[in-house]
């Protein structure tokens, strides 16, 4: 297209959060001509909100700690549908990736020995034969994500990474051979549209918690990468798996870290009972997040919720003492005061399970290479497309992510994607060019918005979408109501395609961005709904009232949603780690 500006790089990373910046850093360090495209200034990315820490067996709290124990916990936490080769990679490379962060300057909290401070988190044990609570989550007070994100931005500044800051990626550009050859993006400040050409495109666009009405996620978490990949026709894996975090602040949805419970806080119901002792006699409040969230909802449903509406429970922290709270959880004290009008030093914090994390995403291998399936159900790489972080599904979290594993996922697989791309490029990886028609296809949504004269406002449709997901695809699900939800989604989809943009200006037009984001929210929501209806069992975060048991015979599998025919297929879980024995599925109890 002669009238559209083209910028050319060897590799582009879409997303300036933890995963994107770690990938960009790796690429820049190894001399690849790379750019990081990010819709917000990098330090405004959602990684900044991560609180508790980054789980990794660096053997600081326990000198005998072993990454294999971490691997065991992760596989068990995933309810056995995490790919064990990927978990093995994450847990074994993890320490190196964390030490690198420390060397970059991340201000971790410290032990008396001067090592990185590690706190207990949910689902942590000392291996398959010792269920003793471990302390494996490396922390910078309760601002680990903030510290990590800023450190990565700083490291990128030091290396001179190119940032296209406040640029919004609209759609992937695919050539005739179905290779991904870059992206069409819009510079928010000027409204200028450009084709950003690259041999490798990394989707590090994070999660999409905003498909739910109540979420801990930032307003920017709209699943842009997932939307782009789905529109390009690529499949999504395990999209029914959404984590509800046990402790979102009641009413506001903002997160209070699992670290609160790691430091000794616990949940109580309206009778003042520490109810998790009943549901998870061993791990209690530090059971897997899915387990705790479900227990909370049961307490509320059975009438033991707190407050006038009996619709939440309480997180008790005051017994930890002011000093510990100020030292270990200063940010939580701030957030509680602001959003719950409660001082944790004196009173318990009202909390409720809140949508937190998307375990599913773009299927990739350990090197971040995006995958699809051929007609025989065999994995095929999508040439030119990579993914890492929450947008990707490697899969290390399976059906339920352990606390502190998301930050590790970001840095390990951001780094891995960088390494892998550098290697591919060094080996002479080439793709064909894109035709004008290929680029035009990626601009279709912009054209539609520019020409839509009639239609609905974005905000109303978005709200209905979020309410629908909250109502029909929440902590507990069942077939009948999900069918209703899916039907409703079909209607909402029609409305999404008929939204109208009343602001057609160019300079910093946030209305246009929100309209484009709505498309992505819908893509994600729809993939979630279809996959959730299809998985007829309860596993991890996917809990069905009509199929209450885990069904290993049929569903010890990844689900794979194909957008073109809206079909859900299956993909084998990897049970072949390279250096350790397979962890066999057993009953998961805490």
């Amino acid at each position: 297209m002669s009238n559209i500006k083209t910028m050319t790089f060897d590799a582009i990373v879409i997303g300036g959060g933890g995963a994107g910046m770690r990938a960009a850093l790796q690429l820049t360090e190894t001399g690849v001509k790379a750019a990081c495209i990010t819709k917000v200034f990098p330090t405004r990315s959602h990684t900044v909100s991560a609180q508790g820490g980054i789980t990794c067996a660096i053997a600081s709290a326990d000198p005998n700690d072993d990454w294999r124990w971490h691997m065991y916990d992760t596989v068990k936490g995933s309810d056995y549908i995490a790919d064990q080769d990927a978990v093995e990679y994450m847990c074994s490379v993890g320490p190196q990736a964390v030490f690198e962060l420390e060397h970059m300057g991340l201000p971790f909290s410290r032990t008396e020995q001067g090592r990185i401070y590690q706190r207990p988190f949910g689902g942590q044990s000392k291996g398959p034969n010792d269920s003793t609570q471990a302390a494996r989550t490396c922390a910078a007070a309760d601002r680990t994500g903030h510290a990590l994100l800023h450190t990565l931005y700083q490291a990128n500044l030091k290396r001179g990474t190119t940032f296209l800051s406040e640029w919004y990626a609209v759609d992937l550009v695919k050539n005739a051979k179905n290779e991904v050859v870059g992206v069409v993006a819009i510079e928010i400040e000027t409204g200028e549209v450009a084709y950003i050409k690259a041999k490798a495109t990394v989707l590090a666009t994070g999660g999409a918690g905003r498909i739910y009405a109540s979420t801990t996620n930032a307003l920017i978490n709209t699943g842009d990468g997932i939307g782009m990949a789905l529109r390009a026709g690529f499949p999504m894996q395990d999209m029914e798996m959404w984590q509800f975090h046990p402790t979102g602040i009641y009413g506001a949805g903002t997160l209070v870290t699992e670290g609160c419970r790691g430091e000794g806080g616990y949940l109580i119901n309206s009778e003042g009972e520490r109810f998790m002792e009943r549901y998870a006699p061993n791990s209690k409040d530090l059971a897997g997040r899915d387990v705790v969230a479900r227990s909370m909802v049961i307490e509320i449903l059975e009438g033991r919720g707190c407050g006038p509406e009996k619709d939440h429970v309480l997180l008790k922290l005051d017994h930890l003492g002011e000093e510990t709270l100020n030292l270990r959880l200063p940010g939580i004290c701030e957030l509680s005061k602001t959003f719950a009008h409660v001082d944790p030093v004196k009173e318990p914090v009202p909390v409720v399970p809140t949508c937190h994390y998307m375990m599913g995403g773009i299927p990739t291998n350990v090197g971040g290479q995006a995958l699809t399936q051929d007609d025989d159900g065999k994995d095929q790489p999508i040439r030119g497309l990579f993914a890492c972080g929450e947008a990707a599904c490697v899969s290390v979290h399976g059906a339920n992510r352990l606390g502190g594993n998301s930050l590790l996922d970001l840095v390990v697989f951001g780094r891995a994607a960088g390494l892998h791309i550098e290697e591919q490029l060094r080996n002479g990886f080439e793709v064909d060019g894109a035709s004008d028609a290929d680029i035009k296809r990626a601009m279709a949504r912009l054209d539609r918005l520019a020409n839509a004269r009639e239609g609905e406002h974005v905000a109303a449709v978005r709200e209905d979408l979020q309410t629908c997901m909250q109502l029909y695809f929440g902590v507990f699900r069942d077939g009948e109501s999900m069918d209703k939800g899916l039907q409703l989604l079909n209607e909402i989809g029609e409305r999404v395609r008929n939204t109208r943009l009343t602001d057609t200006s160019n300079v910093f037009n946030t209305a246009r961005i929100e309209a484009l984001e709505l498309d992505n929210l819908f893509e994600v929501a729809y993939a979630t709904a279809v996959s959730a209806v299809e998985r007829k069992e309860s596993r991890g975060a996917h809990a069905r009232n009509d199929f209450t048991e885990r069904d290993d015979e049929n569903w010890l599998k990844h689900s794979l949603y194909f957008p073109l025919d809206k079909r859900v297929g299956k993909r084998d879980v990897n049970f072949s780690p390279k250096t350790v024995d397979t962890f066999q599925p057993t009953i998961r109890s805490y």
């Binding site: 959602h46 410290r110 490291a155 030091k158 957030l335 905000a459 109303a460 200006s505 910093f508 929100e514």
Partner: protein, 234 residues
């Protein structure tokens, strides 16, 4: 409640103007200023502002609310409202791109000037570099900065010399690295700061301290830098 908004769209307006809008607030609930903006945007999509985390950690929605800088997402309306009126203006001293969105490039440039990254010329160990809890504690009150620019854009010295005075946010980060026991570039860092503008334009008026949404104290950090510069000079 009456909301008075600073509006400017370069494609339509020759100059910025104040727009008064009446907003119906839900009863019994103290909204954050960002919630009010979101309500307004539902009615008028052309209203532009930045936002992301909506919990005070990403630093996107710094703005001037009834005369005082702060983050819209963690500022309850009740805290800033005067005579039933809420006046929202963009951060002072930075060029306005549109409505409440300012051009932050000068602010970021000042941040970049202070070498905001750890420098250590020793070979990296196989594990982490050790740091005592006491040394780590020196970074508290420094590393938490979210780069929202509330402080620098409340600082008259930064208004008058945004290109030369590093400003409170940048200087806080300058000291964050000067104070890090793992950093080995102290001499180099100080040499870069020893001019009449970068640090010494601070007049100690503490506007930065009074607006910082994270409760940080750039004035004190600047004092520490000055002491280091003095030690170096004498």
């Amino acid at each position: 409640m009456l909301v008075s908004l600073y509006r400017y769209n370069p494609e339509a307006d020759n100059a910025p103007f104040m727009q008064d809008v009446e907003v119906e607030l839900p009863k019994g609930k103290d909204l954050m200023v960002l919630d009010v903006l979101n309500l307004l945007k539902e009615k008028d999509v052309t209203l532009s502002y930045r936002r992301s985390c909506r919990e005070g950690v990403c630093g996107s929605d710094g703005m001037n609310m009834n005369g005082k800088n702060g983050l819209a997402c963690i500022t309850p309306v009740s805290q800033v409202i005067k005579k039933d009126k809420l006046v929202l203006r963009p951060l002072p001293g930075l060029p306005v791109i549109r409505d409440l969105v300012v051009d932050m490039s000068l602010f970021y440039k000042q941040y970049e000037k202070v070498m905001p990254y750890l420098v250590n010329d020793q070979p990296a160990p196989a594990i982490e570099r050790l740091q005592t809890p006491e040394d780590r504690e020196k970074l508290d009150g420094l590393y938490e900065c979210i780069l929202c620019a509330c402080c620098s854009s409340a600082c008259p010295s930064f208004w008058w010399n945004p290109d030369k005075f590093i400003g409170p946010a940048g200087l806080l980060q300058a000291y964050r690295f000067l104070a890090d026991s793992r950093d080995t570039a102290q001499a180099e860092r100080l040499a870069e700061l020893d001019d009449p503008f970068s640090v010494f334009r601070c007049r100690g008026i503490m506007n930065c301290v009074s607006v910082c949404p994270k409760g940080l104290n750039p004035t004190r950090a600047i004092g520490h830098i000055r002491n280091l510069l003095l030690q170096r000079a004498t």
